[in-house]
Symmetry: C2
Subunit: 232 residues, 2 copies
C-alpha cells in the first residue's frame, strides 16, 4: 500500500558526516550502521503494531508488515528473526508502558487520588496515544494471545506482577497509615481494582464519545467503595 514514502534506504542520518577519523569503539556505537539499526527496528515495530491492531497477531501476515514498513522480507528478517519475536517485542513495550504509569502514584497525597489518576492515565494512554486507539485494541489482542502463547503469557505475567506489587505496596502503606479500611484481603482488593480498571480501559470509552473526565467520578466511586477511606 504505502510503498515508498521514505527512500528505500533511509538517508536520515547520512548527511551529517560524523567524525569517522576517531578509531575508538565510540565509532562502533554511533556508526551509521548502528544508528540505522535503531531507526529500522523502530520503523518495523511501528508497522507491525499497525498491522496487528488492524488484523490481529495471527491475521496480519509478514508481507503486510513488510509493505507497511516499506521493506522486503529479506531485509525485515535481518532485524527480527521471526514473527513471534515481533509479537513479543510489541507486547513487552505495551505492558511496560502500563506498568510505568503506576510509578507516578507516589506523587499524590492520598491513595484515592493516586488510584483515580492511574485509571484515567491508563484510559488516556490506551485511547489517544498518538493518533488512534491502537493501544486499547492491542490490549484485547494481547489478552487473547496470552491464553495460548506461552512467551506472551510470560511477558504479561512479568509486567502485571510488577503492577500488582506496586499497587499492593501503595495500598498496604495507606492501610498502615490508617488512611483506609479496605473491604477485604489486600491481595484480592488490589486484584479486583486492577481487573475492574482493565475492564474500563478495554471498553475504550473515549472512542465511543465518552470524555475521559466523565470517567473520573466512576473511578473515584470505585476506589472509595473498595478502599473505604477514613475521611468518607
Amino acid at each position: 500500500m504505502v510503498d515508498n514514502i521514505l527512500p528505500k534506504q533511509s538517508k536520515l542520518l547520512t548527511d551529517d558526516k560524523s567524525d569517522s577519523t576517531c578509531g575508538c569503539f565510540v565509532t562502533k556505537l554511533f556508526s551509521k550502521r548502528a544508528q540505522n539499526r535503531e531507526v529500522q527496528e523502530a520503523r518495523i515495530l511501528e508497522a507491525a503494531t499497525s498491522c496487528f491492531v488492524r488484523a490481529g497477531f495471527r491475521g496480519a501476515s509478514m508481507n503486510d508488515i513488510c509493505s507497511e514498513a516499506g521493506m522486503s522480507p529479506g531485509a525485515l528478517y535481518r532485524y527480527f528473526p521471526s514473527k513471534e519475536s515481533l509479537i513479543e517485542a510489541i507486547v513487552a513495550g505495551h505492558r511496560k508502558a502500563s506498568a510505568e504509569i503506576l510509578d507516578r502514584m507516589s506523587g499524590y497525597g492520598n491513595i484515592i487520588d493516586a488510584l483515580v489518576m492511574v485509571g484515567l492515565d491508563h484510559v488516556r494512554q490506551k485511547s489517544a496515544n498518538g493518533v488512534d486507539d491502537a493501544s486499547a485494541r492491542l490490549f484485547a489482542e494481547v489478552r487473547a494471545e496470552a491464553i495460548r502463547n506461552e512467551a506472551v503469557a510470560a511477558q504479561c505475567e512479568l509486567y502485571e506482577g510488577q503492577m500488582r506489587e506496586k499497587l499492593l505496596s501503595a495500598i498496604g502503606a495507606a492501610k498502615a497509615r490508617g488512611e483506609i479500611d479496605p473491604v477485604g484481603d489486600l491481595e484480592l482488593v488490589a486484584a479486583t481494582l486492577a481487573a475492574m480498571g482493565e475492564g474500563v480501559i478495554m471498553r475504550n470509552f473515549p472512542a465511543q464519545g465518552v470524555p475521559v473526565e466523565a470517567l473520573e467520578p466512576m473511578f473515584r466511586a470505585l476506589a472509595v467503595a473498595i478502599l473505604r477511606p477514613a475521611s468518607a
Copy 2:
C-alpha cells in the same frame, strides 16, 4: 489427539425405533435424520468450542475440529458451510447465555442484590460451566475477534445491546422509585458497571483459587458506590 472416543457415527439415537409409520410432516421434524442433524451439530459445536478455546479462532484448524468431533471434513462441511459460520454460532450462543442471566434480575427485591447476583452468576457461568474454564477464555477471544471480524462484532453488538437495555431499565426503575441516586448519567453508569464487571469475569478469579463468594463484597461495594442506594 483425542481420536475416537465416540464411534465415528453416533448411535445415540439409533436404538430407540421411533414410529416412522406416521406419514405426516411430524415425521420430518422428528425423523431419525432430523434428530441426527441436531446431534451432529451439537457435537461439532462442542468440539469447535474446545479447539477454539485451546488455540483461538485463527489458531485452531478445521482438521483439529474434525478430529475432536470424530468426523471427516466432508461430513463436517455438510453441517456448517464454513469456519466462519462455526465461529458465529459459538459467539452467538456464548453471548446469549450472558444476556439471559440479566433476565433473572427482576426476581430480586432491590437493585443492589440483583446486580451482585448478575456479577456472581456471570463469574460462575464463565468459570465453572461444565468442566473447565472454557467460557472465560472464550470471552477474551471473542473480544479480540470482534475488533476485526464484522460478523462477530455484530453478534456482540446485538446481545450487548440487549444487556445494556435490560440493565438500563432496571436501574432507571430503581431510580424512579427513589431507591438509588447514581453518581452520574444513567447510560454511563450502566456502561461502567458492565465494563467493570466484565473485567472481573475475564480475570477468571475462580481459576486462580479465589472462590466466587469472595467476590461478593467486591461486587456489592461497586454497586453501592456507583448507584448510592438511599438505605446506605
